[in-house]
Amino acid sequence: MRSERPLEIHLIVILISVFFILLIAIIIVTALFYHSKKRLHAIEVANFGEILLQSQLEVKEQTLRTVGTDLHDNIGQLLSLTALMLGSIEAGDWKLARDKIDSAIDLTNESLAELRSLGKLIHGEQLLAMGLDEAVRKAAERIIKSGKYEVNYRCADLPSPGSNGKDLIIYRVIQEILANIIKHACATTIDIGIDYQDNHLQVKISDDGLGFDPPALTGTQKGMGLFNIQKRVAALNGQTGISAVPEGGTAINFVIPYP
């Protein structure tokens, strides 16, 4: 008869138990870690979708605002002038009437050109289909056209856009920064620079306006605009830098993985 060896049994059971407990614990912890990452990713995707939708709405809203202003200030003026010109024609003086009709035709053609340009602006998605560079260039051209600002625009060669959603959010951030400059900065010069290096897009927009004190804006309505810019850039896994001095202009730059 064999003698009992309880110590050996205990040792075997303890070793095997430890092995199985560790093995199963590793599997469960790995699964939990995996699900936690998956959950974070799902939240990020949902946030991105929300920001994209919001950006789409805001780009449309901003476009309609520009269209409204242009119709009132530009095309409206041109058409009023045309009407005035045609109304002042007198039957007696044929030569003068001819000149006025020619001027009215020029004004009408100018109005048509303005309307075509507005038509292109309304199709904001088409604007981005031409590429981010072209879309920002058009935005800069509209600011120059107002005659109140000198705009220096520079853009490096960009790779073909990855997702239109990403371009739309970037475009909206740039649009918001430019709208803030026009609204608050009292600037005369705006510099817009877009660089591309090591799969990262760097956008820098600066002005020579009034500037501001960034900490003083925290929590205020005006600070919300900056917060929105930072939130959108963060949704694209980017980083925002704001450098502003009261009476010393403002520079906002952001870096985003791209495309």
Binding site: R2, E4, R5, P6, E8, I9, H10, I12, V13, I16, S17, F20, I21, L23, I24, I27, I28, A31, L32, Y34, H35, S36, R39, A42, I43, A46
Partner: protein, 212 residues
């Protein structure tokens, strides 16, 4: 009967009631868990009340049904894919294998080779299920009933696989081995049914919504 047996049978009854409730709440896979728990209850009641010295045959008969029902549970709860087809084929194959092993080695030996193989398979199946859980709306994974079912069977099966060593331990020390067998199985059983209860509670408490 000892206190442990009361607690053990009580937990089986509780998990059976909760599984039925969870099925009523609309979680379809719970039906197969409820059937399995009913079979378990019958087997354990027979074992607990039987005056016969050998009751191993009850577990040998129960074993292929347990595997089949857990596989059906996985088929209903798990994601679609090649693994699912594999599991479908494994049910009749395991049925034949288990009964063959029982016939060849005798219906009395516990633990047995077929039971060890079953638990290795269950460990793999539920590990796969654990990784493939898909909580809707970015919900937390441990609020999913299948998380608890998977964790329950993984730990239980891991423990039972370890008991595959039991025949060897019996040769070096029968008394100590028998004592250890009881010591290992008791907490494993409690853990299993507690997790199954928690899993069903995730559905019953309404934190998890299912389309019936």
């Amino acid at each position: 009967m000892k206190i442990y047996a009361f607690v053990y049978l009580g937990l089986i009854v509780l998990s059976l009631v909760l599984a039925c409730w969870s099925y009523k709440k609309g979680y379809r896979p719970s039906l197969y868990l409820a059937i399995l728990l009913s079979l378990t209850l019958l087997t354990e009641l027979y074992v607990a009340t039987s005056k016969a010295r050998s009751f191993g045959w009850a577990y040998h008969l129960y074993n292929p049904f347990e595997y089949a029902l857990l596989c059906v549970y996985f088929l209903k709860a798990g994601p679609d894919g090649r693994f699912k087809t594999l599991i479908q084929y494994s049910i009749p194959l395991y049925f034949v294998f288990s009964l063959t092993v029982s016939f060849l080695n005798g219906f009395r030996s516990i633990p047995a080779f077929n039971i060890t193989v079953e638990n290795i398979l269950l460990l793999a199946i539920f590990s796969y299920l654990l990784f493939k859980l898909d909580p809707p709306g970015a919900g937390k994974v441990y609020a999913h009933p299948d998380f608890w079912v998977a964790v329950a069977f993984m730990i239980f099966s891991g423990g039972v696989v370890m008991l595959g060593l039991y025949p060897y331990l019996l040769t070096i020390g029968p008394q100590a081995a028998r004592k250890l067998f009881g010591m290992v199985m008791a907490p494993l059983n409690i853990w299993l049914y507690m997790c199954l209860c928690i899993g069903s509670l995730c559905v019953v408490k309404g934190r998890w919504k299912f389309i019936s």
